[in-house]
Amino acid sequence: MTEPVRHIKMWVTKRFGHKTVLDNFNLEVQGNEFVTFLGPSGSGKSTALNCIAGLIPLTEGEIWVNERRLDTLPPERRGLGMVFQNYALFPHITVFKNIAFGLELRHVPDKEIRQRVAEMICLVQLDGFEDRYPSQLSGGQQQRVAIARALVVRPSLLLLDEPLSNLDAKLRVEMRGEIKRFHEELGLTSVYVTHDQSEALSLSDRIVLLNNGITQQVGSPKQLFNEPANLFVADFMGFKNFFPCRVSMADGAEGTVVERKGLRLAVQSHAKPSVGAEVTAAIRPDDVQLVAHSEGVVGDGPVNRYRGEVKLAEYLGKESDLQVDCEGVGKVTVRTPEEVSVGDWVELFLDPKRIILLESGPQAVR
C-alpha cells in the first residue's frame, strides 16, 4: 500500500450534468516530484485533486500509480494522505488520537502507534500538545496536526488542497517552508492545489495551470513565469500590460517590431512571428522603467519610450503601483520604487528584452 511512487499517469474528464469541469485532464507525475495545480476558483484544480483522492467519481478516465489502477478503488483503499484547507481535524478526539487515527484503522500495534505518532509530533514541532483538543489549537498548529495525521500512515502520495489559505500572511510563508521541508526530508510525491501563484512558484517542481477545466500550460515555475503559453497564463503570472498589435517587421535591427495606431514597440523575444500577424505584446509592471519625471512635458524619446500622466498611485511600502495614461497607448501599469504623485508626468521605457509576444487568439483575456 505504501510502496514508493515511481510514476503517476492520469487522464480525467469530469462533468456535472452538462457542465464540463475538467476536460481531458492529462498528467504524468514522476516519483518525488512536487506538482501544483494552479488556477482561479472554478478552474477545476480541486476537482482534479478530489478525483485522485476518490472523493469525486470520474466521468471518464483512468488514474494509475505505478502499476496499480487507482480510480476504481474507494478512497480508503488508495493509501493516500490528504490535507484540507480547513484542516478537517476530528474535533472530538485529542491531537494524539487524531494523528493515530489512520494507524488504528490499519491495526498497527499500540507500541508502534505511540512511537510513530511521537515521531510525527516531533517532525511538526507540536511536542506537549498531544492531549489537547483541536479547538484548543491555533490555525497553524491545527494545520500541523492535519499534516502529521496525513503523513503518519506513510502515504504513497500526499495531496494538499489549499492548505495555507486559512492562515495569516506570515504563518503562510512559514508553513510553506515547512511543507517543502517535509516533502524533501520524507522523499514524498506531492500534489498541491492553490490559487496563489507565489505559493506555486516557490514550492513546485512543476505547475499545471488550469482555467475552466482546461489545462493552459504545464511546466516548471520558470517556464510559466518567463514564457507563458497564452494570454491567460500571462495574465495569471502577473503580466498586467497587454497591447494588441500587428507585426510590422520581423528580425530587423531592432528585433521584431509590432505596431498599432500610436504605438510602436521593438521586441527581442524568442517568438519569431511573421510580418502581418496579429499578436499581443505583454510586459510586467516591474519591467516598465521610469526614465525621468517632471511636472512639464518631456520630449519624445527613442525606442519604446512613452510619456504620460500618473492617474493613480497605490503605495505598497517599498514600491508603488502607478497607473500611467500614455497618449495613444492607453493605461500602463508600472511598479516603481520612486516616489511619484498623481498628476505628475513621467516617461516610461518598455524594455524590449522584457516584452513577450503572445498570440491574440480566442483565449484573449481582455
Binding site: 484542516y87 481535524l89 487515527f101 483538543y133 479547538s135 495525521r149 496525513a150
Partner: protein, 303 residues
C-alpha cells in the same frame, strides 16, 4: 468603579474592571428575558409546587402525592404515558437518525420532502388526528387497500386505541426529530468525513468512529425533546386514543383532576409528578451520552 479606574492600577487588574462594566451591561440586556422567565415560569412553578403540598382537605402535607401513587387508577396513567412515550421516542429515533444521516449532503426533491414533513406540525394535532381517524379508521382507505389486496379479511383496529395514538404521535415527532437532526448533521464539515475516508476508514467506520460521536450531542437533545413532547401527549390521546383506558395519559389525569373534579391542588401534584418523571428521563439520556462519548461536546461540529 470610576475611582478604581482613576487610580494607577497594576496592569493585571485593569481588564478586571473592564470586565465588570461589561458584566453590568450584559445584565441589563438579560433583564427582559429574566423577567419573562420569572413571571411565566418560576412564579407559576413555585406557586404550583406549594399548592401541591396543600391538599383540599387542608393543612400542609404530601398526601396528594401519596394518594396518586397509591391509587391504581391514577398511578396507571403514569405507566400509560410511559408505554406511549418510550416506544414512540425509540421508533422515531431509529427512523429519523438514519434518514437524516442519508440526507446529510442533500438529495433530489429534498425541499418537497421537507415541506411534506412540516405539514403535520403546522396543521396542528386536531386536524392530523381527524385525518388519521379517516384514513386509518375501520372504513378508511388504509384498511380498504389492505382488504382489496387480500392481505386482511377483517379491518384492522388502528384508531381509538394505543396504535392510533402511536401513529398520530409518530407523524408529528418524526418530522420534528428528523428536521432537527438534519440541521445538525448537515452542519458537520463534510471534509471531516472525507479526511477519515482518505485515512482508510470505510463508510461504516466513518459512521462509528467519527460521525456518531459528532452527532451524539444532537441526537441526545433530539431524544430529550421528543421524549418530553411525547410525555405530555394530550390531544392525540383524547382524539385518536382511548382516553378512558389504555391511552389515559398523565396529562389527561391532571386535566380531569383540575376541570372535572376541580381539585387544583391534586392536579398540580400530578403535574409535578409528570415534570419530575420527564426530568429523570432527560437526566438519564444526557448521562448516557456523556458515558458513551466522553468529551465529544468539545468544539461542536464545525472544523
Amino acid at each position: 468603579m470610576a475611582t478604581a479606574q482613576a487610580q494607577p492600577l497594576p496592569a493585571r487588574s485593569k481588564p478586571k474592571s473592564k470586565e465588570r462594566s461589561y458584566d453590568l451591561s450584559v445584565l441589563a440586556l438579560l433583564l427582559p428575558a429574566t423577567l419573562v422567565v420569572v413571571v411565566l415560569f418560576v412564579y407559576p412553578f413555585v406557586y404550583g409546587l406549594m399548592l401541591s403540598f396543600m391538599p383540599q382537605e387542608g393543612g400542609i402535607s404530601i398526601s396528594n402525592y401519596v394518594k396518586f401513587l397509591q391509587d391504581p387508577y391514577q398511578r396507571e396513567s403514569l405507566f400509560n404515558t410511559l408505554r406511549l412515550a418510550v416506544p414512540n421516542t425509540l421508533v422515531v429515533l431509529f427512523t429519523a437518525v438514519p434518514a437524516a444521516y442519508v440526507m446529510r449532503r442533500g438529495m433530489w426533491g429534498e425541499s418537497l420532502i421537507t415541506t411534506l414533513l412540516i405539514l403535520p406540525i403546522s396543521l396542528g394535532a386536531v386536524l392530523t388526528s381527524e385525518g388519521i381517524i379517516g384514513y386509518f379508521g375501520p372504513g378508511g382507505w388504509f384498511n380498504q387497500i389492505l382488504e382489496s389486496l387480500g392481505i386482511i379479511k377483517e379491518p384492522l383496529r388502528l384508531t381509538h386505541n394505543w396504535t392510533g395514538v402511536m401513529i398520530a404521535m409518530y407523524f408529528k415527532q418524526f418530522a420534528f426529530c428528523f428536521l432537527m437532526l438534519l440541521g445538525y448533521v448537515s452542519g458537520i464539515n463534510p471534509n471531516i468525513e472525507y479526511s477519515a475516508r482518505v485515512l482508510g476508514a470505510s463508510p461504516l467506520e466513518v459512521l462509528r468512529r467519527v460521525m456518531l460521536p459528532l452527532m451524539a450531542p444532537g441526537i441526545a437533545i433530539a431524544t430529550c425533546l421528543t421524549f418530553v413532547t411525547n410525555f405530555s401527549v394530550f390531544p392525540s390521546a383524547m382524539l385518536v386514543g382511548e382516553p378512558a383506558g389504555a391511552t389515559r395519559s398523565i396529562a389527561i389525569a391532571a386535566y380531569q383532576m383540575a376541570f372535572e373534579h376541580y381539585d387544583f391542588s391534586m392536579a398540580t401534584s400530578i403535574a409535578m409528578i409528570m415534570g419530575f418523571a420527564e426530568l429523570a428521563v432527560v437526566v438519564m439520556i444526557l448521562g448516557l451520552r456523556e458515558r458513551l462519548y466522553k468529551g465529544s461536546a468539545i468544539s461542536g461540529a464545525k472544523g
